[in-house]
């Protein structure tokens, strides 16, 4: 770990003040950043501890939820409003990491998790455009079991590792941020980037910008939503693929649907193509399969991850089938 100074902020204003200039990083639970620092992938000269920011979960005026950035993952997953109104979010969080890590990790930090690409992590021995812009990508042609099939670029084929973010993408969460230029909100889908030729940038956040809260808009039909994660061991493993879904079926017809995929792209993948195809269609397995095929139509396999395309399709169909009670 490169030497750094440490300061604690009690609120967003203090954090912004402390984080101004130089190579400062905001520190939440540390579950990813401390590891990245130890690997010398992150080398901040200053850490601003933002666990003193709001850890409140409150109802918004329109029956949504406002979640402080310092809320711990466990606290969010166990919150009665989340369990009953947004169960896919509880399930996504509970499917991630381990209980110890969920007890430490903050909501804000979870959004800024970096990829598990093993070439990204191999500081000394592998080239990585995300770690060292312009150096090349050794993942292509190497072990790519956990890599992207959608939205990748020649520069980067990494995936975003968060489970929670897949649910937030499906739920159309709104991200509240503050920076030198003041406060702004981002729709969740706009927060994370596809790699393009700038894979070093995971998100659109400006330097020094701080996530202060996540807002969940009301979504009544999310009360029966779910999250399904497919992985190589039964627990404590990153997703091969995952599906967050909510579906509103009235008289056998799909009135609305939310669908997002994890483990397939550089960002949590909102399945807008599938959603558009499904709205207004009868809730049948055939419809689900058509939508899944359409969503994965542009998928491009690497050496080891071609299975993800079929796996994602099957899982989408099964999850939507379970939620809607549809039969073949």
């Amino acid at each position: 770990m490169t030497p750094f100074s440490y300061a604690r902020a009690n609120n967003a204003a203090e954090a912004l003040q402390l984080g101004r200039g130089g190579a400062a990083n905001y520190l939440g639970g540390g579950t990813n950043l401390v590891d990245l620092m130890r690997e010398t992938i992150a080398k901040p000269d200053r850490l601003v501890d933002v666990t003193g920011l709001s850890d409140a979960i409150t109802d918004t005026a329109d029956d949504g939820l406002l979640i402080g950035a310092a809320v711990r993952n466990t606290a969010l997953a166990e919150h009665p409003a989340v369990r009953t109104r947004y169960p896919m979010l509880s399930r996504a969080i509970l499917a991630g990491a381990s209980a110890q890590i969920r007890n430490m990790a903050t909501v804000g930090g979870n959004l800024l998790q970096r990829t598990r690409c093993t070439y990204f992590y191999d500081t000394d021995g592998s080239r990585c455009n995300k770690r060292v812009p312009g150096s090349g990508c050794d993942a292509v042609g190497g072990f790519t079991r956990i890599h992207a099939v959608l939205g990748a670029s020649p520069a980067c084929v990494a995936t975003h590792p968060s489970d929670m973010c897949v649910a937030l993408a499906a739920l159309d969460a709104v991200v509240h941020v503050e920076g030198a230029g003041g406060a702004r909100t981002l729709s969740f889908g706009d927060l994370h980037r596809l790699p393009g030729d700038r894979p070093e940038l995971d998100t659109v956040l400006e330097v020094g910008e701080l996530i202060t809260a996540i807002e969940l808009p009301p979504l009544p039909f999310a009360a029966s939503s779910t999250y399904r994660k497919v992985r190589d061991r039964a627990s404590y493993a990153f997703a091969l693929i995952s599906v967050a879904a909510a579906i509103d079926v009235v008289d056998g017809e799909i009135r609305d649907v939310r669908l997002a995929l994890g483990g397939v792209a550089h960002k949590p993948w909102r399945a807008t193509t599938a959603e558009a195809l499904l709205r207004g269609r009868p809730a049948t397995e055939a419809a689900f399969r058509d939508a899944a095929i359409a969503e994965l139509a542009d998928a491009r396999p690497l050496r080891d991850n071609g299975f993800k395309i079929e796996l994602a399709k099957r899982t989408i169909v099964a999850v939507l089938g379970d939620l809607s009670g549809a039969t073949a």
Binding site: R116, D122, G125, G142, V230, R233, L240, L311
Partner: protein
Amino acid sequence: MSILDTAREAAQGLVQGAMAKLVPLAPDSWIPGGVPDPLIARKHGLIGTSVSRLDGALKVKGAARFAAEFALDDMVYAALAFATIPRGRIATLDVAAAEAASGVVVVMTHRNAPRMKQPAVFGSSPTAAGPADLPIMQDDRIHWNGQPIAVVLAGTQEQADHAVSLIVTTYDVEESVTSFAAAKEKGAAPASFMGQPLLNEIGDADAMLAAAPHKVDQVYRTPRHNHNAIEPHAATIAWVGGDLVVHDASQLVSMEAATIAGVFDLKVEQVRVTSPYVGGGFGGKCLWDHQILGAAAAKLAGRPVRIVLTREGVYRGVGGRTLTEQRVAIGAAAGGHFQALIHAGTTATTPHNNMPEPFILGTRAGYAADSFKLSVDVVRMNMLANTFMRAPGESVGTFALESAIDELAADLGIDPIELRIRNEPEVDPTSGLPFSSRHIVEAWRAGAAKFGWDKRGLPGARREGEWLIGMGCATGTYPYYRMPGAAARITLDRAGTALVEVAAHEMGMGTSTTTTMVAAERLGLPLEAVEVRYGDSIIPGAILAGGSQQTAAIGAAVIAAHNALVAELLKLAGNDSPLAGLSPDEVGSEDGGLAKLDDPARRESYASILHRAQRDHVSVSAEGSPPLELMHWSMHSHSAIFCEARVNAVTREVRVSRFLGSFDCGRILNPKTARSQFRGGMIMGLGLALMEETEFDERNGRIMNPSLAEYHVPVHLDVPEIDVIWTDIADPHTPMGAHGVGEIGITGVAAAVANAVYNATGTRVRDLPITLDKLLV
């Protein structure tokens, strides 16, 4: 050369000659174990009772002190830098920034490292423990991607870790072989293991296979694996005067001390290696570069050193199991009788070590067949030296063989257990030796009944909701080993307590507990009156915690020391003792003293003998008998493994829902700890079957998942409740009638899982691990 030396070398496979031919023909009574150990007949003692680990309280309180937990005055912390090319030379190595970093005491590279001899490579002599025949940080040559190239010592671990990240290296890359295919193109050579060729040919197996009415002929592949003990390798090292003390996590303290002494040109007694607790070994906690580098850096700095490998460092610097590619072809008659059994293939090792994964070992004594062709070829790759990992050979060899038998059974329409039993051999089919103890058929019958094997259906027939459910089984096998060189020292005092010292190791197997039980039983003392010390190279003898041989080696050494003790006590007893005039073979130990075997009333307590002799204590050491029994009988443990696997119909995720292991491993000394060993082996087998793989990038020989997050071992939710039963039939030819139980558990498991997955889905996976992608196609 004495007959003892000859026997010792013969047992190690160093001499193929007269001994190996004569020993099988000798009368049983000339052979160790020819007369059954009297403890086998003793039915009401400690042996066979469930005793909780004697070191349990220390461990659950976190008070057991592991290698990295010795605090020494003025100690500094080490960090290592590793090479990033597979082969070549260091062109530039800039350590200026590291040397200038805060807290740094010294940066050691090949330029300033003390001059050291190459460690004697394992197998080159009875005490050699070196990982490879390579010099350690003595020149600019790089032999594998991950080789240590610099050691930083600093006042804190944080300072050392930071400084090591400032080292900048460039290389002159040389041609290397890092792909298995390229290595095979360069040519494979016949392999040997422990000095013996890995080759058996009986009859014309190719012709008999061709002529057989039924046959299976398939290729099975297993990847590289790492041990992944949860304790990373660590040592706390100090030079005291000119002598060296290494507090290590080691499976071979005596061999390690001898080898390190050779490296630093010291006398063996100048190096002391302790290893009181080992946080998991599995073959991985032997001598690697880091202990030698730590000692060298301590010498350079003139201060004690703590060296703890990072988890990545464990993968870069400590070898694991290598990959295998195995053809199994079986030709069978309609009734299932094996006419030809071919098990042949290739494994990879390095130009600098000799450890071909000996995957045919279990096949040699597994089944009767009219003809055999068993062989292992080896290719050389530029990579970290591979090494022993739990059941080297059998763990992956049984995957291939026992999968093939399942395939043949399906083809023949014969129940796979029945097919195995029909090919049960009378004597060892390749050596011709009689079996010392073989009760696999009993194990199969008992296991099948308890597991409910009769409920197995046709492939793909059983489904509950989204889950396809199947059953599979396989035979596991592991030899009984006993290596020469073990010794024990027994010190008996006037209070009637005994200290038993053996240069053995406790890595969780329960060795310290079972050794105490056995010694107490042999000495006729209560458990509380016996203390066992181990894990220290200053104790006489050498006992490798490997090959599941520790219990037998200790057992035989304690028998020898006990015999010497009895003789010594009889001398001390003198003419006023009720034992006067008796010879050592007329008396035995019981109830705190010696008694005439056929007239137990004629006895005297240890305390009384020592009191009369005016002695506070008596101490004897003795070496175990040479292990000639291994050349006289075919000695093996066996298991029948049963698995119920569930495969998700949608995602093809595989989960094991039931396991039963039915073991034939001689007499079980401590059911409580033995059960844990069996289960532990089976769980490692579960990992081998479903998830474990060291990702070796064949473009440059770099291990790409050097982390417990990316190398998956089973977690709690992967592990079902595991039922374990055993025959408990004593092997009449081993100490206590026991066999080692550390490695048998992992064998057969991968095949049982693969066979269950086949039964669940109708899909056969011949390439480990069985990940869901292989079932989606």
